[in-house]
Symmetry: C2
Subunit: 331 residues, 2 copies
DNA sequence: AAAGAAATTGCAAACGTTTGCAAACATGGC
DNA sequence: GCCATGTTTGCAAACGTTTGCAATTTCTTT
């Protein structure tokens, strides 16, 4: 049994497909009576609009693509949920693509979305993406681009990001207030905007406290548990008594390193992570972390798409102070 | 600048759209020379096949929909990744829909996918889905259905599931071997196949150990951290010295309840969860858990779709024994 | 009651691709 | 040089919807 089409409905009611189309679209040019008759018939016949045909004719799919490094990170999972809530409400279907941090997958995803003539693309680029060139190439006048979290400022379109600078500033300041003296940082990669901004915020907090910029305290490329562990070990050996980590997984690794080095957290060693992953409150000790409000990031990205805005939206971060950084009094 | 179409290429080469279409599809009826010329021109002109038009004409979209309760559960995230790896390889685009465990969202997702004329639907139904009726209604002769993890056996199409019965049997037996005497279970909802099967496996292990079926040991509907905590407290008060939990989040809640009750894990109280979520190895103590191999589940589901198979595929579980259930010697 | 305006519906083309069938062309056997 | 066969390409319709414009009907107004 083939699906019923508007032509089927038209035949049954002695009307034409155009009228059916307009009636179902709520076009005011159609008499209220016929519209009701059409709706009734459509319901009875189990009509479902063919989104494919609709997209082809109108030249615009009611579909939005979301490209993220991976969906099983709390941050991206929630950002997607936030975007979905807005987009579904507005009648859009969402296609989600994972890049697994590979630029090659990112190119494929962009191509796939382009082939499907999506109305918009919400993207947070992979770590491998050194610059914006491949995204610019895939750009298309007919689909709107919105970047979030990890953005290239030289691309057109809206950008929704955290206030990473202030967040990292706050996290580092918190460690300073707790009396830690030599605070290192597990940084990410500098081609990725959010990591760059967090590093800047970290440095600003130290300089505001009268400390000079010390590159030897920065452990670049530490965003996984394993790299966090290795860098954490180095930081401890270098005499750090605290770390601000630009990610939670690397912070977890650093906690392990600290334990292995016989450090007491938070008495001997303090640490603050970023992203407020689920596991941070479960860890022993619970990990202080910078909450990035990913759901709101996703929501704002979707709204920017709907509005067609071209601005930079900043979403606040919130420091969740937990045991890993709260020692009693200073030393 | 509008996208180049096969008609554009045809004009440039003095051919017709049909030839271009066939050439790009690798149709052997086209002379090898012209095919190469077409490919060259297509590359030069930046041609990208319009997937929408292609779908409409051929009546079949190279798109597969995946419906899951939520994407930020390790299990579903990895299942999706597994399915994606197979489907992308085969040229399919994947649309992911979250139901957030609501049957209403599930209906909408089914409708959306149906409207988009997807070639197949991979689904793990929500907890709210009491029966298969709404899925059956949305069924369509042209799109293949594959259920995974949570399945209704009365629906047609392939089903990819864990060997939950044996997994739960193994987990419970492990607790018995460790010398726990009164083993309760945090069960899920009995309309959900995987939870039902796990409960059966749990009972079988107990009965094989000579214990009679005791419904008072079963705490239904315990799958979240909070419900796990409440049920865990009740179980402890009822004198249980161990729990097999059909989920990890509820196991986490039960661990909290045990700690609050002053129990030592694993000496006074043993616990095994299910799903091997990331946090299980981070917890204090690390939580024993039944690994469900979600990536393989997703892979198999995608393969079942591609093969058009109608069989039930069982994926093995693996018990990860950690500290939460490994006490020294029996009592 | 006639003319003009407004409301409602129909006509037909278009979106870009695929595909059955026919046509054109080349090749080979006799 | 003719017919049969095989190879390569073109024609035209179709997928189901949307939409500018025209046509028809109904309602106002004088």
């Amino acid at each position: 049994m083939a699906k019923t089409t508007i032509t089927d409905i038209a035949k049954k009611l002695g009307l034409t497909p155009s009228t059916i189309s307009r009636a179902l679209a709520g076009n005011p040019r159609i008499k209220i009576g016929t519209r009701e008759a059409v709706e009734k018939a459509a319901a009875e016949m189990g009509y479902e609009r063919n989104a494919v045909a609709s997209s082809l004719r109108s030249g615009k799919a009611m579909t939005v693509g979301i490209i993220v490094p991976r969906i099983n990170r709390m941050f991206f999972g929630n950002a997607i949920s936030g975007a979905e809530s807005v987009l579904n409400e507005a009648g859009y279907t969402v296609i989600i693509c994972q890049t697994h941090e590979k630029v090659e997958n990112e190119k494929n995803a962009l191509k796939t979305l382009s082939m499907n003539r999506v109305a918009g693309i919400l993207i947070s680029h992979s770590i491998e993406s050194a610059d914006s060139s491949h995204i610019r190439e895939a750009l298309d006048s007919r689909s709107k681009l919105v970047q979030f979290d990890r953005v290239f400022y030289d691309l057109p379109g809206a950008k929704v990001v955290n206030d990473n600078f202030h967040g990292a500033y706050e996290a580092t300041s918190h460690l300073l207030r707790m009396g830690y003296k030599k605070i290192g940082t597990l940084a990410g990669y500098m081609n990725v905007s959010c990591y760059k901004e967090r590093l800047d915020g970290y440095f600003k907090a130290l300089s505001d406290a009268g400390m000079s910029r010390d590159e030897s305290l920065v452990y670049y490329g530490s965003i996984l548990q394993e790299t966090g562990r290795v860098s954490g070990k180095k930081a401890i050996e270098a005499g750090c008594d605290a770390l601000y980590s630009a990610g939670d997984f690397s912070a977890l690794g650093a906690v392990e390193a600290a334990c292995e080095a016989g450090k007491n957290i938070p008495e001997d060693f303090g640490i603050v992570g970023t992203a407020n992953e689920d596991f941070t409150s479960i860890m022993n000790p619970p990990l202080s972390s910078l909450d990035l409000n990913p759901y709101e990031i996703g929501r704002q990205a979707a709204l920017a798409f709907l509005d067609g805005s071209d601005e930079v939206v900043k979403v606040k971060t919130e420091l969740r102070e937990r045991l890993s950084s709260k020692r009693n009094g200073n030393r």
